[in-house]
């Protein structure tokens, strides 16, 4: 991570992936990315921009310039909480929040993050749980995240967990739909029908 966090003002063209933008633009309405005028409205409205390593505007610029590695291993894409402030304000109507989600997908698919990284663990565990049972359980997902990333933290959270339980705010029971197999078939049908649909 250290390496990608600093400024990268110059890279020889041979090291860049100039096709990256075309790959990303396959998402629904992704073509609008070519329209970005780099005005910075997205970065200005983003409540998380100050915590990001690259601002949303820069992520778009870097995507277009082919800095694939830097973009896909940035914290920015995982810090996006999908609040859609940028998408609403963008004067060029770029769906920036959806674009961030697309980058998350590519980043996961191509393995840019380790299994120690909480955001990816959250996404994966949540995915698995829903795939298996059709319903999620906040308590167990949270538990698994900490178990897989930072088990010692669990000790610190025990009092909080107990309080939640006593107040009846979380449920330890793992719920499921009547026939969990249905969900599995449904999701498998998607993978077999889909060759990365471009719309």
């Amino acid at each position: 991570m250290e390496k990608t966090q600093g400024f990268l003002k110059f890279r020889p063209e041979a090291e860049l992936d100039l096709g990256f933008i075309d790959e990303v633009a396959k998402m629904p309405d992704g073509k609008t990315l070519y329209n970005c005028i780099q005005c910075g409205t997205c970065s200005g409205t983003c409540p998380l921009a100050i915590y990001m390593d690259y601002s949303p505007r820069r992520i778009i610029a870097m995507t277009r310039a082919g800095f694939k590695n830097e973009v896909l291993s940035s914290f920015t894409i995982w810090l996006c909480a999908s609040c859609y402030e940028c998408s609403v304000e963008c004067p060029r109507r770029i769906k920036i929040a959806d674009f961030m989600a697309e980058l998350k997908q590519i980043s996961l698919r191509e393995g840019f993050y380790s299994n120690q990284f909480k955001s990816t663990v959250l996404a994966r565990e949540f995915f698995k749980l829903v795939q298996k049972r059709g319903r999620s359980s906040e308590f167990w997902v949270a538990f698994l995240i900490y178990l897989k990333t930072n088990p010692i933290q669990i000790l610190r959270l025990i009092p909080f967990g107990i309080k939640l339980l006593l107040k009846g705010r979380v449920n330890l029971k793992l719920e499921r739909v009547k026939e969990p197999r249905q969900i599995k078939i449904l999701l498998e049908a998607i993978s077999s029908n889909q060759n990365k649909v471009s719309v």
């Binding site: 609040c83 609403v88 959250l122 909080f160 969900i183 999701l187 049908a189 998607i190 029908n193 649909v197």
Partner: protein, 265 residues
């Protein structure tokens, strides 16, 4: 919420055998699978209640995922095709007719404020309430209210006698699921909201999303320790406030499950 709707003369019915909508986490793994999960719910709703079904979802996340699925399903043929095939494999079909609504939309626009006012038994006179909309209920699809300055919750609060506090952070993000992944950042975002609320002398914050409610309410102790500032503001789901004004019991409204106890009127 069910009790409040019942008071207003609307009976809610649970969607039989519902599944998780997939939330934003699913979107970041595989968009099409997220659509598939959401559309299973939509198809079930259609089967249960026919072509004129209205699906009411109190969570902004579910609301967004379902609306987004609905839109993509009707706007992009490629999406429709894949989803239809997948649904077929589990013996369901969907014609795209279910309407997805947030309870706030239903109460303010369908049931109407006059009906709400009629039912008020114990008006919340003098209670300073902050209307907090959060992000995904008005964005990106501002269906029933303005994306930058929504006002439906404000009107609702007025109609039950509360005093609305001017609050520029109405639609600012609470941090959402970041509280589980980048805890410090998530907590700071929620803290900004609470601090501003405190500064403006709020008695209570009304939310329209369960996750906002959770973030703002349950982490207050932690924030107080971290930022060395006293908070202690109750955060209620907006229907809980309505219920209070209708004179429903604390237990019916789930107020016994709250972290920060509210001094009742």
């Amino acid at each position: 919420m069910i009790a409040v709707f019942r008071t207003l003369g609307v009976e809610l019915e649970e969607l039989e055998d519902w599944n998780c909508c997939g939330a934003t986490a699913y979107m970041s793994i595989d968009e099409m699978k997220a659509f598939a999960l959401a559309s299973r719910n939509l198809a079930l709703a259609e089967r249960q209640n026919g072509n004129k079904s209205v699906m009411v979802t109190p969570c902004s996340g579910c609301y967004l995922v379902l609306s987004k699925t609905q839109r993509y399903y009707s706007e992009y043929d490629e999406v429709k095709e894949v989803i239809d095939k997948a649904l077929e494999s589990i013996g369901l079909n969907y014609s795209g007719s279910v309407r997805i609504k947030h309870p706030l939309d239903v109460i303010v626009n369908d049931i109407g404020l006059p009906t709400v006012m009629e039912k008020v038994r114990k008006p919340l006179f003098g209670l300073k309430i902050i209307p907090y909309y959060g992000c995904q209920i008005v964005r990106p699809y501002a269906v029933f209210d303005d994306a930058e300055d929504p006002t439906s919750l404000d009107k609702l609060i007025w109609s039950i006698g509360g005093k609305v506090i001017d609050w520029p952070l109405k639609t600012r993000c609470c941090g959402g699921s970041l509280i589980g992944t980048f805890e410090e950042i998530g907590v700071s975002l929620s803290f900004i909201l609470l601090k501003e609320a405190k500064k403006r002398g709020a008695d209570v914050i009304a939310t329209v999303c369960p996750l906002c409610q959770f973030n703002l309410e349950c982490y207050q102790r932690e924030m107080e320790k971290k930022f060395n500032e006293k908070l202690g503001i109750p955060v209620l789901f907006f229907t809980q406030l309505l219920g209070l004004a209708f004179g429903l019991s604390e237990k019916e409204l789930g107020l016994n499950k709250m972290f920060s106890q509210m001094k009742l009127l």
